[in-house]
Structures are given as C-alpha cells and as structure tokens.
Subunit: 433 residues, 4 copies
C-alpha cells in the first residue's frame, strides 16, 4: 500500500479534510448498501468465496481498529478483544482467525453489536482526527486512506455476494426492484480502435492513492494493437452458444474445458431458462436476457474461449491501460444506480464502456511489476501474496463505488470464478506499420 | 404412520379436544424454543446434517399444509405456492425441493413471512376442526396426529442444531444462561439390574399414537441380561480417555477407527481444553466437564468402543424396551428445563435415567420389524426408507418434548453422528439360569 | 477363529493328513487361479476395494508366516523382514502396513520373489508337519486351518478383483475363453417353498472349521416364511428396468437412492449397451445378457429395491440358513468351472441354486451373535471389527472354492458394493398357521 | 508445431538421413530407458499426473501412427484399431480416449503386444522413408520431427514417473544402482553475474525444430539484472528449513501456504528422515541428502518462498534466456548418466549448471508469445491449451535426453507440482546504470 506521496496530509488541513470526508462517505455507503437487506440476508454465505454482509461490515471496521487505531492511537480503547479473531480475513501477521467457510456461523456478535462496533470505531477515528497535531501521523493517514479503499473493495463484494445468495434462493428475490431501465435498444456495431504501440509507461503515477500492486510505474514494450469499441454483448454470447461454444473443446484452455465438463457449464453464470427463454439473475431480480447489454458473470475461461471463437484475443492489461489514457473516468458505476451493466450507446465515436458495467478480463496473469516490493507488516499481505494463478481485470463494474476508479487499477480473480461482474472486450493485433 | 386405532376421533369429541389441545401446545412450543434466538441465529446452518431454526418452523407447517390441509380440507387456501419447493424435506412423492445443504440460503421468505405462514396454517387447522362433522375425517385426524409428533421431533432438532451453531461460534454463546444447576455431586455406584429373558412382546401396543417403525408388535426371543442402573458418566469417560481409549485400535470397529484417525477424535463432541481443563459446550454455554453427569454427544462408534473397553456391551433395543416396562415415562426432558443431562441420584434403587438426559445407543441396527409395511403415499417415506446403516437409540434426551415419550420409541442415527444428545448405558449377558 | 474342536489334530495322524492335504491343494489352487494372468495383470488394482493378484498371493503367505510360523515354529527362518510391512492387510495388532489404496505400487518385491516367498513358506510348513510330535501344537493346527480358509476367501477375491480390472480395460479381455456354455434355455417358473418357523437353532455346529462370526450357535425365533425356488433372473431384472426401477425413488432406501443419482446407476454393475443390446462383462469376456441366468453384480440397495418392486422382501440370514438345512452343499462353485452364474434347471422340485452361482443378499445387518467373543490377539481382528454397516450374504458364488461352503457361513459386504458375485432370491412372509 | 523451415527435407537426402538417424536413436533410447524395469514396474501409475512406462512406449508410437502414418502414408496398415482409444493422451480432435487416471488398467494389450506395435510402426516409418520421392512430404517430415521431439519429452517423463513409483514403494528400490558418484565436495560460493538489459530478441530463431510455444521470436524489454552463478544447493535449503521456512506464512504465496498446511510439507518432495538424517529418494535409490548438490523436486511455491527468504527473486524466463546466450548447450543431462543433479564445480568462472541437473523455475507465467498462433488440427493442441495457471521452467534436467535442449525451450508445470526434476537459481535486479 505504498502511497506515492504521503506528505499531503502532514500539516495540510485540506488533505485532512478531504480524507475525513472520504472516510465519512465511505463508512456511510456501506451502511446504505446493507439497508435493503434483512438481518437474515446479512448473515448467510452463498459459498466459500463469498462472505456475509455483516462480516463485511465488521471486517472493514476491524481493519481500521487493527491497523490504524491500535498501533497509532494511544487513546484508543478496544471495543471487544474477541472481535479480532472473528473478523480478521487473511492476515497471518495479525494472528489466528475464524475459518472463512464458516463465517455464517458468526450470528454472534449480533447485528446490532456489529453496528455498535462500527459506531465505536467511527467515533474513535473522528476523535483521532480532532486531535489535530497530536492526531494521525502521516503513516496513520496513509493507513486510513488504505482503509477507505479497502472498504470500497468490500462494498463491491457485498453486492456480488448478495447476488450469489439471492440467485441461490428459489424465490429469486431482487436486491432492489427495477427503476427505469429501458430494454431492447439497438446495439452499436462492433468497430475497432487502433493504437500504435511503443515503449510506454504503465502503472500508477503521481498523486493520490494506489494499491501497491500498481507500482512501480515502469515501461512496457507494446506492439500495435486494436480494441473493440464496446464490450461483448449478450446477443454475441447467444451466437457463441448457438454455435456450440460450450461443446467445442478446441476453443478452450484445457483447465477450462475440464470445468465445463465437470460443472456442466452451458451459459454464463446466473443464466437459466424459463419457458424456453434465457433469463439471468440480477440485483434487480430475474430478468430476460437483454441482447443489447454486455455479457456478465463469465469466467476468464469463457472469455478466452469466446475470443478464440471470434478469431480475436483478449487485450493485455497494458494494452487496456494505454488505450484508456484519454478516456474519462466515468461510466455505469455504483452511483449510477443501474446495478446492472447497460447497453452501449449508439452513435458514440471511439471507445466506450471502458469504466463501469463489467470488469474486463485481460490476457495478463496477475504478477508483480518489476521492482515490486510489498510493504512490511500486515499490509504487506494486501496484494502480493495473491500473485499466482489469477488474471488481471481492468476497468470497473456497475457496482464499483465512486472514488475507486483508476486506469492503473489491477483487479484480479481466478480464471474459473464467475460471481463477480465480469465480462470482456475483444482485442486484436494491430497492423504492422 | 399406521395408528393402531384411528377410530377414537370419529365422533368422539373428547378425542378431538385432546388432539386440538396437543396441536395448539405443540405449535406454541416451537415458537417458544425459537424465542431466545435472533433472526440471524435462526437462518444459518452449522452443517449439512442440521437445518436452520426458521426452516424447522416452516417445514413443520408445510407438513400440515401439504399432508393434511391440501388433500383433506377443500376450503383450504394455499399460503404461497412456492413454499412447497422451499420447505419439503425429503418427500420424493411430493415433489422437488430445495437442496438440504443450502437451506441457509432461504433468507427469503423472510422470518416474519414464515411466522405469518404458521399463523395461516394454524388458523386453517382451527377452522377445519370447528367445522365439526364436516371437519377432519379419521384419516385427516391421523395425519394431524402425525403432524404433531413430527413437529415434536423437529423441536428436539431445533435445539441440537442451535447447539451446533453456537459451538462453532468463537464466542461460545449460551442458548439460555444457567438456572440453578448444582455441580459436583457424588456419583452413585454402577450396579447391575438383572432381567430374565424369554419370549416377550415388543413394539407398540394398544392405544395412542406411534410411528410406523414401532409396529407390528411382535415376539422376540430374549436371553437373560443385565443393565447398568445408570448412564455412563463423564468421570468414567475421562478414565477411558486416560487409558488411551481413543488411541487403541482394537477397541474400535474398523469404520469407527477410520473416523477417529481421519477426524482426530480424542474426546466427545463439543469437548475442548481451556487452560488444561476439559470443558464442554452446552445450551447453557461453555462449562467445565462435570464428572457426575452422563457423557453426551458421543457417537455409536465411541459408545461401542467404551463398552468394549469396559468389558461389557451395549444393550439391544429389545432388552432396553423389556427392561423399561416398569419404568415411569418421566425424567429430565424438555419441560424439566435443564437443557443438559443431569447426574444420577444417590440412593435410588433399580434403574434410573431411562427416560431423558441422553438418547441411549443400542447394539441394534435400525431395521424393519417382521411384517412391517410402510403406509402408501408420502407418509410412507417417513421412516422406512432410512432402515439402513443406522442404529437404534432408546429413551429420550434432555431436549425431548413432553408427550413424545414411548417405551417402543425407536430413534435412529448413523453410527458416526455426534451432534444429538446421545450417550450410553452398559449391558451384559445375564447368568444362565 | 475359535474352532469348535481343535483336539482331532492332536495325536490323530489322519487329522494331520487331512489338513496337510487341504493346505497343499489350497496353496496350489491360488497359483492355478493366477495362471492365466500376466505379471502386468497381477500387479494392478482396479479400485481401492480390490487388491492386486500378486498381493493376494503374498498376503495369504504372510498370514501363515506371521500367525503360524513366527510364533509357533522356533525353527522358522523369516524370508524377508520387510515383507510384513508390505503384505499385512489390516491387522493393527501386528503393526504398520503399506496403505491399501497403493498396493499396486508394490512392483517390488518382484513377482518371482513373491513366488519364492510362497515356496519358502510352503516348505517351512511341510517341515513343520514332518516334525510330528514336535510339530504343530493344537493351537498351531487351528491357525493353519484358519490360514487355509483365509486363503480360500482370497481366491474368490482374486477372481472378483481380476474381473474389475478387465471390465475397466477397453479391450474387455476374457480371463478365460468360453468353454461349453449353453445360452438361452427356458426359465423355470418362480414357485414358493414354505417353511414353518419356530424356535430354531442357527450358527455353526459340531465338527469342522467355522469362522468366529458363525458362533455361538443359538436359538432364533423364526416366523413362518416362504422362499423363491430359484434366484432372480436377468429377464426379471430387465422387467424391473423397463418398469422404471432405477428411476422410481419410492422403491429405494434413501442412502441407495442417493447413490443411484450420484453414480447414475441404471443397470447392474458391468452391464453396458452395445448396438442397443445389453451386454455384461464376465470372466469369459463381454457377453450378451442371458435372460435365463441369475442377475449378478447388484448391490444390496438394488436387491432391496427389486424386492420392493416385486412386492416381496429379502430373506433374513436365519430364514436362509433354516431353509438350507436339507439342501446338498453343492452347486455351481469354482470347481464347476463355469466362472459365471448359470440358469436354474427346469423341472427341479424344491429349492435350487442355494449354493453357488451368486452370493444372496439377505435383509440381515451383519452383527454379532449373542455371546460372541472374538479371539484374543491378531486373529480377533478377523471378523468382529467389521460388524457395522454391512449386510449378510448367504450361500456361495460361482467362484467360491470347494471346501469353503457352510450353511452357517456369513459373508458380508457394504450395501453399495457391486463387484462381488452378488444376486438375490425373493422371500415372503408365510401363511399364519 | 510450426517448423521454421520445413524445406530442408524436401529433396535434401542429408536432411532425410539426419532425421532418420534421430528417429532411430530416439526410438531405441525409449526401449533402453525401460530396460531396467520389470513388466510390473512398467504398468503401474504412481498418481494421476504420472503414466505407466508401457503407456509412454505405446503413446509415443500412437503419435507416429495417428499423426504421420494414417494421414500421410497411404500404404500404412493400422496395427490394431482399438489402440487409438487406449493410447491417445489428450487430443480432443482425434477422438475419445481411455481416462488418464486409469491408465494402469491397460494391462492389455500386453507388454509384448506393445513392443510389437512399436516394431510395426518403426518398420512402417522405415518403409515410408525408403520410398524416397514417393515418401514423406515436407509436412510429413515436419510431423516426424515433432514425433521425435514428442518422444524425447516422454523419455524424461518415463524416468520421473518411475521415480514416483519407486519412492512410493516401501523397499525404496533403485532404478539403477550407483555408478561412481562422489559425495561431499566443497560448494562454490554464490556469486552474481550481471546483465545489462535492453530491448532484446527472445524466442526460437532460425533453423532446426522448435515447439510452437517458442514462437514467434519477438523483442522483450529487459531491465538490468543479475543471476546467481549456480543453482541453489541442498545446504542452502537446509538453512531455509532450519530458519523455519516451511512454518513462516509471510514467505509464501497464499495458494502455496494453503498447500503447505494441507499437505504438511516440511521438506522437498522425496525427502525423509532416517535415524535423524535427511535422505532423499533418487533413481539411484535412497541416499543421504548431499549438501553440495542442487536442491531438486521443489515446487514453484517452494522456490518462490525460498527466493523471498533469501531476499532475492526468481528470474523471468526472458532473463534466463538472454543470460544463456553464450552458454554451451551441454551439462548433466541424460547421456551423462548421473541420473541425479550434480554439484557445481569449484573455480568455474561465470554461470554454470544452466543446462542439465534441474529444470529452473522462473517467475514467468506460461502464456503465449505475442502473435502466437497454434497449428490447425490435432497438433494445435500440443502446447497452447495449457497456457493457464502454469509457470515456465528453463534449462534442462539430469534426465533430459540429448538433442532436446534449446535456449528458447519453455517447459511448464503447475506451481504445486514436485515430481519433476525441478530446482531454482536466484536472480536479482541489476544496478541502475
């Protein structure tokens, strides 16, 4: 979590103020996300990969208590000594923890106790800031910043994990009923946008926060390439299915094909047929598959097979990053409140849907950048230890919180995982100049 | 569920009245059992064998709706067509159902909807009865009786499943704080009570309800035998452990020894050491192991190994039934409110602890009685299809509801299962006369 | 392995002579069974339940070395100290052993070394006998007798395990090509033979060897019953299949139905369709299913479901034993050399096929007889520790060796197992007299 | 398997002659490798990842039959139609195949039939060549070349799979007894060799055969780096162990640490303690761990953890390739006949052990090179479909056959796999120039 420039906070009241505002908003957003969910909804766990909402609410709080308040605020009074064991996720440095697959057993501490825990820590952070010069050191401010970003990540997980629960419920309940969605628009043609390549810098630069895995900024040798102007749509995915995509082994990586057969995959995750019509489970409930919207909840294996079927390939993480340079950092993200990917717009020149809608699988294995050094201590476990067997995703999804968007952002998941809001954009080699 | 004598209800208002009273009390008891539990506690599932409290509340209601009201009350209006799929347990005859290991995903219907479902069905049953001569047929009355007994079984499971959740919670919460338990009394000596054997009738007789697996009443050839006057105690179990009971393969059945090694069993379920002292998790919270109380939460494999270590054996289900003939049907059961097994009393002549405290493992495989014929239709799936690989337990436990006690009662579990309130009483061959 | 009467050997040369002859024949038979198999065939293991032929050859030899020669013959010189670890099966008392699922890794000691091991032990046993009065004690003679019977059991396993290998081989090779089998005979009608019941003695009696699990002989209360005159045929099984037997959950025990679904069972083990015709793999190679022959390689679960479908039941082990009292101890066993079950004969009065063809599943759980006490020491592990979760089979199969047939014989397997030569005979309750 | 230049064979007798010589030698070498093994040794399978020797002998033959002779030689007469099913490995394009985990069930075709199959195909290939101008087309010659290289790969697997069998055998037999190995030499100090970086070409160039995954040759941007002059030794590994390497989670990737705990790893694969001394199983039998030799049979996870412990890192595949540019393509490979890694030599300047001893784990995920296009048809399945979740290894091992060495060679295995001859060399970032 090395911040590029931790100094702004040191003696810069506006730095403090900005971080305090961000902290307050982030903490409130978590509560708002949980709001449509009953206490029951918030304690169960759809699968080992997912966590209960209440656990997310508590764990993000524990992060501030364990990494900020306990080591940096001598005045801090621990809320409950037993919560460390309950709500540590994977920090070996910090100590033992409750086993991940059994998080739903944590019906105690009760939901109201977790809310009280949040309030206790929020108040302690407020008091910490209020102490001014005797308040947070630059290092503590860095950790608070990390805590804010950490909580934003968990906000996205709260929604993906909630969808997993509701998709497994025979009533297929909606997280929130539909607002004003318009279905069935025309789909803009797929067009190619060319990029020239060269020796180009990638990774986090300059000011503001970034995770450690986005550094060091460094040069990459990039060949000329082309990116599709928009995401792959459900209409295109239905063509892939109709053409036997899920039944043609030569389209698949061997590990992917093994899963297709073992799990009986024949459509994206959360798709099901009702009366002969493909539907898909969404946070808005069960909906007919909308041809114009981007395909979502596909694994890397499926994205890769689709690209091969289409005669194209997935972009590298660096191609995506370079191509995004002139793109605005906005799109269908959490504050847009669609809670689903939305169709590309007609008549839009150049790339669109780069930010929001779905995380885009890349062909890049998730590995460290040259010269990467994780921080010492517990935060060193944040990203580095997962650099194996996963693939990088770029962009953001329809449930990524605001303020959590960067061109250098490196999301990562295992190639078989499907419960995130994941889709793809096609790439191709550029013309030799 | 062939009742021995279904006629009492037919034109006998007192039969109706008694059954209505039993129905009302049973339905209320389920609600009372759930009362100390939060909505969170009531939705999670500690393991595949266990079910959420809310599911128990709904399933017992579904049983009345599906087997009584829908087929027998033309006036009945179904509460929600979708609940059948959600709350069917294992009745293949009735239709598909939500998979057992995923019952905790049923956060919807919400808890308050399940309560409303209960009230709807309760009211419908009341109305059904009120119709008098146009009310329940003898067959429907039989099924209501079965529904009452079915719900009583689930009441015991609610408590055992709740203990499983709390035992897996790092805070080790109590279902209810201790009342007036007295620890550390003296343990009465183990004495033997002799029985003469002969050709003796076993199985359900006469009046009142019994499950189908208790019939037909038939003769068994029983050899002279002896039963211990009381249950095996924790003190005796600690001796077994100190003598290497869990490390001596020749004491164990081969399948049991395989589990001991695979699972690392070295003490009864829910036992753990704290500062060098054995504790056990109970519905009253984590307590030091009380030497005087009966050992509880041991599997058949452990009970069998203990008996072999002691140079004795487990009784057969028929020996137990014959020996219980003169015993009162009372003891430490649910209404006693101990919620834990209690120590045997000093100075008591003859057998004690036959009813209540713990279900007693027998050496009898759970098989059908000669001439057993399951009922046709869904209720035929009640007991018969489980007659394989399980062992019979006799008596009752500290969480068995009142009115659910019979000498002919045949409880059954797999030999490796430990989460029920299960213990043992030693037996031996009698002297040749 | 308590022999009823160990004294015959003590000072009775003819007892010695008879046992020596039996020993010699048994040891030779094992070699003859292995004869059609290549060294390759003899080392592999089709599944965890099965063992390599070479391992059977070595283990039966180890049994004589470990339990007879080492403790009882001071002159015995151990062949190779390392073989004990390699060839112990499950005797915890004797020591550690090579893990069962990895027996095929024992390519060393080589096949010729195992043959040399056999010859070394055979010669030592000969020498032991030759010493006359200084030769085997009565106890040693008992153990030699046990060793002979033990090796006969493994002879049957050699053939069942070999069939498992060849059935998994895409070439479906024959263990031995067909001799003179005649297919397609008429099937005698199923008729019922009545038995009166009463208090009747069962279990091993009198002279000669029996396994410990056949004792003590004791009385059983048996109700009037009827047995089918012959085994269930393939023709009848095809009817069961055509009537949806494998797709009707109410016919099945719950544990059986779970396996049917999980494993996709839709026919007996080793059945497969070729060009729309059911074939079955046999020791004679892949053959069209012969309607007249008894069904074979069905599990207890299948046998039980079939009986329920037929409106009948399986016999108890005691019913079978009582019914067999007047039957000759002969039939289609190993020396008959069919290597497959054969069709019942037309025009035969009374019961037939009681001995040979297939082991007959009974409704009896495999449990100890009243008063059963296993021997002390390693041989005490022979049978008793398996008395859980298995069912008794009676009779003998087409690959049971001669001299290994008793009415009191109790074979036992888990209810899901199918690789033995297992079938069934229907039973029913008798008329109340 | 695009050959860079397929034309040499077309009308160039010396091209033919060279390939014929290589083919003949390669086919003989396989037989020689199998020579010390009994038929039993050659049929069993230590684990799912490994295959029986006989299967390797047959599969490499099938490759020539299926991909060369059947499509390209109209005169070819198929040996046995059934062998295709038996000996296809993973070519979905070619058809169904016998399941990999059950290859040891292929005791038929017998060993001598497989040898006859080899001779049949060898003779057919000879005849094909003899036909001269009517013989192999350029495309067929390419495929024969691929078949030779394919068989060389399987030769290495024969030896690694054989070691897996013997390591699981309680007798710990040697594949071949020790020759003239000298133990206990001094270990040369670890020194660093610097490389300057730049935009440098990597991948296969020019003439001769290479696998498709080594192409296209392309530029990589390489930063200044340093490589250790020699491989990591057993002595260094013992230090890592003594320092708690296997008990310190922060040294490990998260997926690696999960395996360490699950499998109880505490030393390299095939290491075991005998009388308090670490030994390791080798093709020469069980040997005390020699401190001077390179550590072998470590997974990527272990190599990565060791590098982190040492404060260094693994090289990228490109760093290794660039560094190897001036290295001779020779070392301790199969023809050297050590069958074990050997110690580095004292007083040797520059890099050593680059070729032979052990395959060196790199930090590079196994992915396609820019512009990679797999061939059409079955050979397109050769490498590309495995480009996921594996890591690249460079160099060669002590059992890599002669003629199978290239600087651009990309070996690949999953990060948890340990049964290959795998070790590591440390790398570090170079000084900024």
């Amino acid at each position: 979590m090395p911040l590029d420039d931790p100094t702004p906070y040191d003696g810069h009241p506006e730095g403090h103020a900005s971080l305090r505002g961000s902290l307050t908003r982030t903490r409130q957003t978590s509560i708002q996300i949980a709001e449509p969910l009953s206490e029951e909804d918030q304690i169960v766990q759809a699968m080992e990969d997912a966590s209960p909402t209440k656990w997310h609410l508590a764990h993000t709080t524990w992060f501030f208590e364990e990494l900020v308040l306990k080591p940096h605020d001598p005045a801090y009074k621990i809320f409950d000594e037993r919560f460390g064991y309950c709500f540590n996720s994977y920090y070996e440095t910090v100590g033992d923890r409750h086993p991940r697959p059994k998080r739903s057993l944590l019906t105690r501490p009760r939901h109201d106790e977790v809310i009280a825990y949040r309030e206790h820590v929020d108040e302690a952070l407020e008091n910490f800031f209020d102490r001014g010069g005797n308040g947070p050191s630059p290092q503590a401010l860095d950790l608070i910043t990390l805590g804010v970003n950490h909580e934003q990540q968990h906000q996205e997980l709260m929604l993906t994990d909630c969808l997993a629960i509701f998709a497994g419920n025979p009533l297929r309940p909606a997280y929130r009923e539909e607002g004003t969605a318009i279905e069935g628009g025309k789909i803009p043609d797929l067009r190619w946008v060319d990029f020239g390549g060269g020796i180009l810098p990638v990774g986090h630069q300059g000011e503001g926060f970034a995770f450690d895995n986005e550094s060091p900024r460094h040069d990459q040798l990039i060949r000329p390439f082309r990116l599709a102007n928009r995401l792959v749509t459900n209409a295109e995915w239905l063509e892939f299915m109709a053409d036997g995509g899920y039944a043609t082994p030569t389209l698949w990586l061997a590990d992917g094909w093994a899963i297709v057969k073992r799990e009986g995959w024949d459509a994206p995750h959360y798709w099901e047929q009702r009366d002969g019509v493909w539907h898909q489970m969404t946070l808005r409930g069960l909906k007919p598959v909308d041809p114009a919207r981007p395909v979502c909840h596909v694994s890397f294996f499926e994205a890769d097979a689709f690209a091969r079927w289409a005669g194209k390939r997935l972009p590298s993480e660096f191609e995506w990053e370079v191509a995004s340079a002139d793109q605005p950092l906005e799109g269908n993200i959490l504050s847009h409140d669609a809670l689903r990917p939305e169709a590309a717009r007609l008549g839009e020149p150049g790339l669109q849907q780069m930010i929001g809608d779905v995380w885009e699988w890349t062909a890049s294995a998730y590995l460290s950048y040259p010269g990467f050094k994780p921080a010492t201590g517990a935060v060193g476990e944040y990203n580095g230890k997962f650099m194996c067997n996963q693939f990088v995703l770029k962009g953001a999804s329809c449930v990524t919180p605001d303020g959590h968007i960067r061109r250098s952002y490196r999301n990562f998941f295992y190639p078989h995982q499907r419960w995130q809001f994941t889709g793809l954009r096609l790439a191709d080699d550029g013309a030799a100049s």
